[in-house]
């Protein structure tokens, strides 16, 4: 995560800036060690303290406040905004028709007006990449939110309540874990005859939530043991309050890490489903389909450009969401404040 290069120097006060309120961990922590300070370099977190956080603000608004001041968040938000704009109005930056293809130019390299070259069907790679954003981003984001929500809630509850609730929820997770993706996809999409992205999103959520659930459960089990949770329990905090205020913010990091990476793999998953004839179908264009077309039959060996551009677009998207995830995680971590 190249956060420090992105951060402007002015926003990065000396590491010990916050020492007056709380001892900066790196100062005392592993100070003498040459490379450890990077961990604790509080940067943006350190200045939050002395700036006199009002007591009345809760944890979540604290997090929001932190987030807004984080340049990483700013950059990722801009990127995501750009992706969304392109998804909604691809015509803004690509005026050609993504469906008009000339087989005679199949796999040709860059030409004037077609700087990204042509794919195996002779379609303009640039236009297809821009127009592919809509379906790919929509599927990836919706599926990620879906798996994180379903998995997070079920896994979190299983980890929090232990006992028979954990047993039942975990065993259901195990059963779902066992469904092979191809089988699940074929059955699910054969039953749901609807078109568009939603069936694909449902399939991915249905088959993807068990992983998020396991991660969430493991994370909650760890956090639950912490002194502050035990203390809250001893003070008579209700289950809901403990979950939302104490457990959730501390347990969310691994879920964020896993789901932001999974976001990228869902685009590939969508392509696998399309390949089986059950995912998004033409005339919908998507990066996943472009990438899998490029790899089928070793096409990429003769025409690397048909793989390069959609893969790069996917990389940028994943990067944006990984940065967003990192920023959110940092904002939610009280230790970093």
């Amino acid at each position: 995560m190249p956060e420090s290069p992105l951060r402007s120097p002015s926003e990065e006060p000396p590491a010990l800036g916050g020492a007056s309120v709380a001892p900066a961990p790196d100062g005392i922590g592993i100070g003498p060690v040459e490379d450890l300070p990077a961990v604790g370099r509080p940067g943006r977190r350190a200045h939050a303290r002395p700036r006199g956080r009002r007591r009345t603000r809760g944890l979540w608004s604290d997090a929001w406040h932190d987030l807004c001041r984080n340049p990483v968040f700013g950059i990722s938000a801009l990127l995501i905004l750009f992706l969304l704009v392109v998804s909604v109005w691809p015509g803004l930056i690509a005026s050609r028709d993504p469906l008009s293809c000339d087989l005679g130019r199949a796999l040709d390299g860059p030409a004037p007006g077609h700087w990204f070259g042509f794919d195996a069907q002779g379609c303009d790679v640039y236009t297809r990449t821009v127009h592919g954003a809509r379906a790919s981003v929509a599927v990836a984001v919706c599926a990620t939110l879906g798996t994180a929500l379903v998995g997070g809630v079920l896994g979190g509850l299983a980890g929090f309540f232990e006992g028979w609730a954990d047993g039942v929820l975990s065993r259901i997770t195990d059963i779902f874990f066992g469904i092979p993706m191809v089988l699940g996809g074929l059955v699910f999409l054969a039953m749901v005859k609807a078109e568009g992205i939603w069936p694909v999103v449902w399939v991915i959520v249905a088959l993807g939530w068990p992983q998020a659930a396991r991660i969430a459960r493991g994370s909650v089990i760890t956090v639950r043991q912490n002194d502050f949770v035990q203390a809250a329990r001893a003070l008579g905090a209700g289950s809901t309050r403990m979950l939302v205020r104490h457990v959730l913010p501390n347990a969310v990091a691994p879920v964020i890490v896993v789901t932001t990476i999974a976001l990228g793999t869902y685009v590939a998953l969508e392509a696998t489903l399309s390949f089986l004839g059950i995912g998004l179908q033409p005339p919908t264009v998507s990066w996943g389909v472009a990438i899998s077309d490029a790899s089928s039959g070793m096409q990429f060996r003769n025409a690397p450009h048909i793989l390069l551009y959609p893969a790069a677009a996917l990389s940028v998207t994943v990067l944006a969401f990984i940065m967003l995830g990192d920023a959110v995680r940092d904002a939610l971590d009280p230790k970093m404040r």
């Binding site: 087989l103 796999l107 069907q121 004839g277 179908q281 033409p282 096409q299 060996r301």
Partner: protein, 542 residues
């Protein structure tokens, strides 16, 4: 400390392993013996019985370990006598088969008239669940051993049309005249079976025994098979190498890579996109030659919107809107050839292949295509779908290309849409249930190199592969006449019959499919037969 040591230890182990394997594997290059050909293979989809094998990979082995009454010359595609000394008939319906002397199975037992009759009866009997039973449908008494209705019990266990005269002679009576019947006998389904098969089928299946140029030494199911030259083989096409080692590959790209790495001598079915590289990678050591496979697009003539003169015009228009030349060049790099009739070049002009018979209908002509579709009242419902399974055979690309071609001609991106079906079983089920709505893929791989096989099973009223539901009295009558006629005359009548089909156009010819193979510099004489299977007997190891 403990964790650290463990981690370091694991790293050390991994690194050591990497070094060791690198050292080992570079030395070993497979187990190919002195004159053994190492070839790629796919796992057969059915047990390796002659009448139960309907795909190329199983056929590859059967072709090596069996010889029937006839075999197909790999160069000309003509049926020549193998075990048969003569097959005689006077009325095109009663045949007398005489076997050559001295043929033996590789277990030493003789090949007799009974070996054939028993094998055919086994293949035809419904309770043996053989998927190729229909090959025996022309023999009298087939309906008794193989009733058509679901659940009906067979009333006989042997076909009345088969009679053993003596060890070397048997007679066959067909239930209709079929002049070209002797030429169908080169197909694997008609192979003889040794006594051992009927005594213990399970044991035989573990290591099949036949009478072909090779015998099986060992067979690891799903993985590999080693065959060695059958020294007792009585046929003329004796193996020119000591044996063949077949290795199962789950992906033809891997077989190709293994060929490049020198671990394989023959890899057939090179992916089309690799063919561009094959020239460079293999120094031109690859073959790309016609095989008896034709791809067509069928129409559901059982639906009202596809019946009648106007719909015929629309079909003609669609046919003219497909730029076959460009698709075969750009997507298949010359491993497909634009089709101009409904047969295959492997038949040769004498066998009934008629280049250009389809005429203007199969030529790309955007202007005429537009006009014809317009005259026919446009596409039914304004747009059509193109359906195919996509799990096998990398169909996806050409489906897209065909639809793009039609869309470009009609200047409408919604005119043609690909509708993929997940599994082959699903696809066949939809076709059998007559649930197709628009065009659908129909591939035909010939069973034997006869024009009859490209027409009758596909377009005769209610024939087994007549997926479009086409029916023409005129065509049926011509086919009946051709089957009763003799040799060259029959071919002529079949050609007339084909003209009718091309006129009515229940299916659009797309392209003839070639067989492809690459080979190493260890071997020479690699070529494919008309079924796109390497002719292993001809391969010599340098």
């Amino acid at each position: 400390m403990r964790t650290a040591t463990r981690v370091t230890g694991a790293v050390a182990v991994v690194v050591t392993l990497a070094v060791v394997t690198a050292a080992c594997s570079s030395g070993a290059t497979g187990s190919g013996g002195s004159e053994v050909v190492r070839a790629s293979w796919g796992d057969p989809q059915h047990p390796l019985e002659p009448a139960n094998t309907n795909e190329v990979q199983g056929g590859k082995v059967l072709d090596m370990i069996f010889r029937g009454l006839k075999r197909y010359d790999p160069r000309t595609g003509k049926a020549v006598d193998a075990v048969a000394e003569s097959i005689e008939t006077e009325d095109q319906r009663n045949f007398t088969v005489t076997l050559r002397k001295g043929w033996e199975f590789s277990d030493g037992t003789p090949v007799t008239a009974e070996s054939f009759v028993d094998a055919w009866n086994y293949g035809a009997l419904v309770t043996n669940n053989q998927v190729n039973s229909y090959f025996f449908q022309y023999i009298e008494g087939y309906d008794d051993v193989h009733p058509e209705e679901e659940g009906a019990e067979p009333t006989a266990r042997t076909m009345s049309g088969l009679k053993v005269k003596d060890d070397r002679t048997f007679t066959v009576r067909l239930n209709q005249k079929f002049s070209q019947w002797p030429q169908t006998l080169g197909y694997n389904a008609y192979a003889p079976l040794p006594k051992a098969f009927f005594e213990d089928r399970e044991a035989w299946l573990r290591k099949p025994v036949g009478n072909g140029p090779y015998k099986i030494d060992s067979y690891a199911r799903g993985q590999s098979m080693t065959l060695s030259r059958n020294e007792n083989y009585s046929g003329e096409d004796k193996a020119r190498n000591e044996g063949v080692e077949l290795k199962v590959y789950t992906d033809s790209n891997t077989a190709y890579t293994d060929l490049q790495a020198g671990n394989l001598d023959v890899a057939d079915d090179i992916p089309a996109s690799q063919l561009k590289n094959a020239e460079r990678d293999l120094n031109g050591r690859y073959v790309n030659q016609p095989a008896g496979i034709l791809q067509t697009l069928s129409f559901p003539l059982y639906r009202e919107e596809w019946q009648g003169e106007r719909a015929r015009k629309v079909r003609q228009g669609i046919s003219m809107a497909i730029d076959r030349q460009r698709i075969t060049e750009r997507i298949y790099h010359g491993t497909r050839i634009p089709a101009t009739d409904l047969t295959s070049p492997v038949l040769g002009p004498d066998g009934g292949y008629a280049e250009g018979l389809c005429g203007r209908t199969c030529a790309y002509a955007p202007e005429r295509a537009r006009r014809l579709i317009e005259e026919g009242g446009g596409l039914p419902g304004g747009s059509i779908t193109l359906t195919s399974n996509v799990d096998t055979g990398s169909h996806r690309q050409w489906l897209d290309a065909v639809c793009n071609s039609v869309n470009n001609v009609l200047d409408d991106n919604d005119a043609c849409r690909v509708r993929p079906v997940g599994t082959f079983a699903d696809y066949r089920r939809d076709i059998a249930a007559k649930e197709m709505k628009g065009m659908f893929r129909a591939g035909w791989q010939m069973d034997y190199p006869l024009i009859q096989n490209f027409l009758q099973p596909l377009y005769y009223t209610d024939a087994s592969s007549n997926d479009s539901g086409y029916s023409s009295e005129e065509f049926d009558e011509l086919v009946d006449r051709a089957n009763a006629a003799d040799g060259p005359e029959a071919v002529g009548i079949f050609r007339e019959a084909q003209k009718i089909v091309l006129q009515d156009l229940p299916a659009i010819p797309l392209w003839y499919q070639n067989g492809t193979a690459g080979y190493s510099d260890r071997v020479k004489g690699v070529r494919l037969n008309a079924f796109s299977v390497p002719v292993f007997t001809d391969i010599e190891v340098a």
